[in-house]
Amino acid sequence: MGNERTGELVQGTLDMLILRTLARGPNHGWGIAQHIERVSAEVLRVEEGSLYPALRRLEVGGLVAAEWGVSENNRRARLYRLTPRGRRRLESELERWDVLVAAIARVLETA
């Protein structure tokens, strides 16, 4: 499928953001996108064309589970939640991210 870019995000990073968002609690697709946009102060805009395939991928991979429920404004919505597996994956991804960021920073610092 190749690397798709979301704003400037790489596919794997989007997965991580979604998982982190769901770590706060179950949410639907719209909610996840809104959260990421809001918290990043509109820097990161999630394209729906990437979001839903990513969600499907996570669901198929067993990292999230989905159920039909009710949204905050009483609409029927499909709510995603993090599975234990997903939680474990999130942790390892966050670790790797930290390592990655530190490494990049070091490279950028050294002249």
Binding site: G29, W30, R56
Partner: protein
């Protein structure tokens, strides 16, 4: 790795839920759209504007759905399935092309698979013995001629390279005392025979060395088949004695079912018994007496080369030590598998090469057809490309179509191969080894699959390449690339020339064979074969020591059979017609045309009184043989017209005298019989001399053949015969039983096979050529559409257009036909041995083949030509 496998399994498990997930997503997207609209409205936009913004923001829902769906899919497999179904639909829309291609491929793949099965069984399948690659044959040769081995040399041939060595030769023995006596076919083998082959009796034991000696107790090992049919699978057979050649032989072993010794691998006569070779001392002392065949097993670690060298050294030494018997002779070692197939390897491989060529031509033909089709589809492909299909995808799609086509051809071809193989097995000459094992087994199927895939790729590559290189803009816009299509046309024209030449040669050959067989069938034999059953009664010398005793047996048999129900007449002789016969020289007496003392040659037979009547041979002048013509009475003979013409031209032959040699008694000619061809339809009319059986003790002939002409079922006659022979001598078997009609059919056998093969190839070649012509004609028409359009617009007659197209095609054929005639003239010479009554260069046959080919070509070119007349001139003119 494991996690990937788990992931794959999870995906597979979720596959059935895919549709529901998609529906969920649809609803999700609607929800998303609503929420997005609300958010926009909250920002102050109106209902419609908010909705539009939301929709723009969302993008294409169908794209999202597709991408999501692809997560859970197997994109490559699904794409392949889609390609297949598309290919299927495309093929169905062009039934003409599809049918032509499938038929062509079926013929090519079917024929080559059938022949491969034959060749595989004959040449490549390993011999049915353990470690067959270690088995070799040993032959003695003098110059270029190969011969049997002298048993006296056997001991010297035991070289270190051999683990074991044995000798075998064919024998016949009469079995009696178990139901009706019968003549069995078998082999005499030395004691090590089973050690060499690595196969031994499944009950009982092999021969002991002590039994393989002159004068030892007579023992025998029987085959599984004989054990079942003659001894009813009696478990107590081992240890019992049976009567072979009227002597008791103790059965010491029974062979495994399906066992065939090497010498009998190509034969239809089953080996029923094995006897110890027990070479007599006299034979073992004479190094010049070549009587047997030798096989050996190589020691582990020793190669054929080492054995060859060692045997060479031995034979050189023997040649030096025994120049009288072994001088100029050398011995060779040949791998057994090679040796068994030596007679047919050449022709089988040639056949395989020929049929391989046919397959190649079939592929090229189909490639041509596909190219014609591809031309017509260029716009469709261009549109696909413009819509975003990658060149790779287009090429893959076309390749899939080719493989599908090849697959259909392959399946049809296998069905055809099944039929062809049955036909080949029925008609093939007996000498094809392991013929009965030829079948469409795993290896042959593997070959067929390989051939199918290879052909599919081969003829699919060209159109696929063309498609991959197509530039959409060009195809969608203006017209053809003239230069490349001209090159293609020339190339295809060359191929067609070759095809036409080959087809014409094959058709001419087949036509010649057809005429030969027809002529042969029309030949007058000169004697009757209908309702005549012939059989052989081989009286053993031990019990019938002289001619008089044998004569007495047959005359008594004649009396017993006379007047029995169903028996019209009975005859005995040395040999009945179509079963061999005696030829001798005769000297004439005081002859003007032939100097006295010079011998003429004639066919001769010792016949009973009933001979002429049984075989329907008319006596034209003089008298037939009479009861008074016995030993002691004057020697007489009946001769035929050819005899008279050859030995007494222009004279009255009745009353003339001849004799077999200077010291032989004079024989007077008393009657003249009609001409006949004793040895079959293809034989010449030869001089025949009929001597009374009762007067032939002095000649080197033995009475042994008899014939019954009767009414009703031949098997009833045979049963009657067996009963009467048994009544006279209970241990005497009746052998070589067959109707003369069957003997006649067998005579025709090799020619029939040759005809079937040639006709098959000719038909194949013709079909391929016709398909090829159709392709070229269609292509050429498509090239000339603008020109033809102009002609039509200018008022050309439709029939003129047809003539133009057809004439163009025929013009291209002319070279092929010319080449074909030359090729035929050369090739039909190879048929000379098989032809009958028609010369290899018979102009009538050549003309007939030519006419058929031309008519077929015309028919093939007609359809494209008619289509050419339907060209809309306006559209054609626009199509620059």
């Amino acid at each position: 790795m494991r996690s990937r496998l788990l992931a794959l399994l999870r995906r597979l498990a979720l596959l059935p839920r895919r549709d529901r997930l998609d529906r969920d997503l649809e609803e999700e997207l609607r929800f998303h759209l609503d929420m997005s609209t609300e958010a926009a409205r909250a920002g102050g936009a109106g209902e419609e504007e908010a909705r539009r913004t939301a929709r723009l923001r969302l993008g294409s829902p169908s794209l999202i759905l597709e991408d999501s769906r692809a997560v859970l899919g197997f994109p490559r497999a699904e794409a392949l399935l889609r390609d297949l179904s598309l290919a299927g639909r495309r093929l169905r829309r062009a039934p003409g092309f599809t049918a032509a291609s499938v038929v062509t491929l079926a013929l090519g793949i079917g024929a080559s698979s059938a022949l491969f099965a034959l060749v595989d069984a004959g040449l490549r399948r390993p011999l049915p013995y353990p470690a067959p690659e270690r088995l070799v044959s040993l032959v003695e040769t003098r110059g270029a001629s190969r011969g049997a081995v002298a048993p006296a040399n056997l001991a010297d041939y035991r070289v270190p390279a051999f683990e074991s060595l044995a000798a075998w030769h064919s024998v016949e023995a009469d079995l009696s005392g178990e139901g009706a006596p019968e003549t069995l076919f078998g082999q005499a083998v030395t004691a090590e025979f089973f050690a060499v082959l690595g196969v031994g009796p499944v009950r009982g034991r092999p021969f002991l060395p002590a039994e393989d000696r002159e004068g030892a107790e007579r023992v025998v090992i029987v085959s599984d088949g004989l054990w079942r049919t003659a001894f009813g699978s009696d478990p107590g057979l081992v240890g019992r004695a049976i009567r072979l050649d009227r002597e008791a032989h103790r059965v010491v072993g029974i062979l495994p079912a399906g066992f065939v010794p090497p010498g009998a691998l190509g034969s239809t006569r089953p080996v029923s018994i094995l006897l110890p070779a027990a070479f007599p001392a006299a034979l073992l002392a004479n190094r010049g007496d070549h009587e047997t065949n030798v096989i050996a097993r190589l020691r582990a670690g020793a190669g054929v080369e080492a054995a060859r060298a060692q045997i060479r050294a031995v034979s050189d030494r023997l040649a030096a030590d025994f120049p009288d018997t072994n001088g100029g002779q050398s011995a060779h070692v040949v791998p057994l598998a090679e040796d068994v197939t030596r007679n047919v390897r050449g022709s089988l491989l040639l056949l395989l090469a020929a049929v391989g060529a046919v397959l190649a031509i079939a592929c090229l033909n189909v490639a041509n057809l596909q190219m014609v089709r591809a031309l017509g589809r260029r716009r469709e492909l261009a549109v696909s490309a413009a819509l975003g299909a990658s060149q790779g995808r287009l090429a893959t799609g076309l390749l899939v179509e080719s493989l599908l086509l090849a697959g259909l051809g392959g399946v049809a071809g296998l069905a055809l191969a099944h039929v062809l193989l049955a036909g080949l097995k029925a008609l093939a000459p007996v000498a094809t080894p392991r013929l009965e094992t030829a079948a469409l087994d795993a290896r042959v199927l593997g070959f067929a699959v390989l051939a199918t895939v290879a052909t599919g790729l081969l003829f699919g590559l060209l159109p696929a390449r063309q498609a991959a290189h197509a530039r959409p803009a060009e195809s969608l816009g203006t017209g053809e690339r003239q230069h490349s299509s001209r090159a293609v046309l020339r190339w295809r024209g060359a191929l067609l020339t070759v095809e036409v030449a080959l087809a014409l040669a094959l058709m001419t050959g087949a036509a010649l064979m057809v005429r030969s067989v027809a002529r042969l069938n029309a030949v007058e034999l000169g004697f009757e074969t209908a309702r005549v059953v012939a059989a052989q009664v081989n009286l053993p010398a031990a019990h019938y020591p002289d001619g008089a005793r044998r004569l007495a047996f047959f005359e008594e048999l004649e009396q017993r059979l006379a007047g029995r129900p169903g028996v019209e007449s009975f005859a005995f002789s040395n040999r009945m017609p179509l079963r061999g016969g005696w030829t001798t020289g005769v000297l004439t007496e005081n002859d003007v045309a032939r100097p006295p003392g010079e011998a003429g040659e004639t066919d001769a037979q010792a016949v009973s009184l009933g001979y002429f009547r049984t075989l329907g041979i008319p006596i034209l002048r003089g008298r037939s043989l009479e009861p008074a013509d016995r030993e002691g009475a004057p020697y007489v003979a009946v001769v035929n017209e050819d005899f008279a013409r050859a030995l007494f031209p222009g004279q009255e032959v009745l009353g003339k005298r001849v004799r077999r040699g200077e010291k032989a008694p004079w024989i007077t000619v008393v009657g003249i019989a009609a001409s006949l061809r004793r040895d079959g339809r293809a034989a010449d009319l030869r001089p025949q001399m009929y001597l009374p059986a009762a007067q032939t003790s002095i000649y080197p002939v033995r009475l042994g053949d008899l014939a019954i002409r009767g009414t009703g079922d031949p098997s009833a006659l045979v049963a009657l015969l067996r009963r009467e022979v048994a009544a006279l001598d209970p241990e005497q078997p009746v052998s070589r039983v067959m109707t003369l009609d069957d003997a006649l059919a067998r005579d025709l056998g090799p020619r029939r096979f040759g005809l079937a093969l040639l006709a098959g190839f000719a038909l194949l070649a013709l079909v391929l050529t016709v398909v090829g012509i159709y392709g070229v004609a269609a292509y050429s028409v498509s090239q000339r559409v603008p020109e033809l359009g102009v002609r039509l617009a200018l008022g050309a007659d439709r029939s003129r257009i047809v003539r133009l197209v057809v004439g163009d095609v025929l013009g291209r054929l002319a070279l092929g036909i010319a080449l074909g005639v030359v090729l035929s003239l050369l090739a039909t010479r190879a048929l000379r041995g098989m032809l009958f009554g028609v010369a290899p260069t018979d102009p009538g046959t050549f003309a007939a083949a030519l006419v058929v080919l031309t008519l077929a070509s015309l028919a093939a070119a007609l359809r494209p030509a008619l289509r050419a007349t339907r060209i809309d001139p306006v559209a054609a003119l626009r199509w620059e």
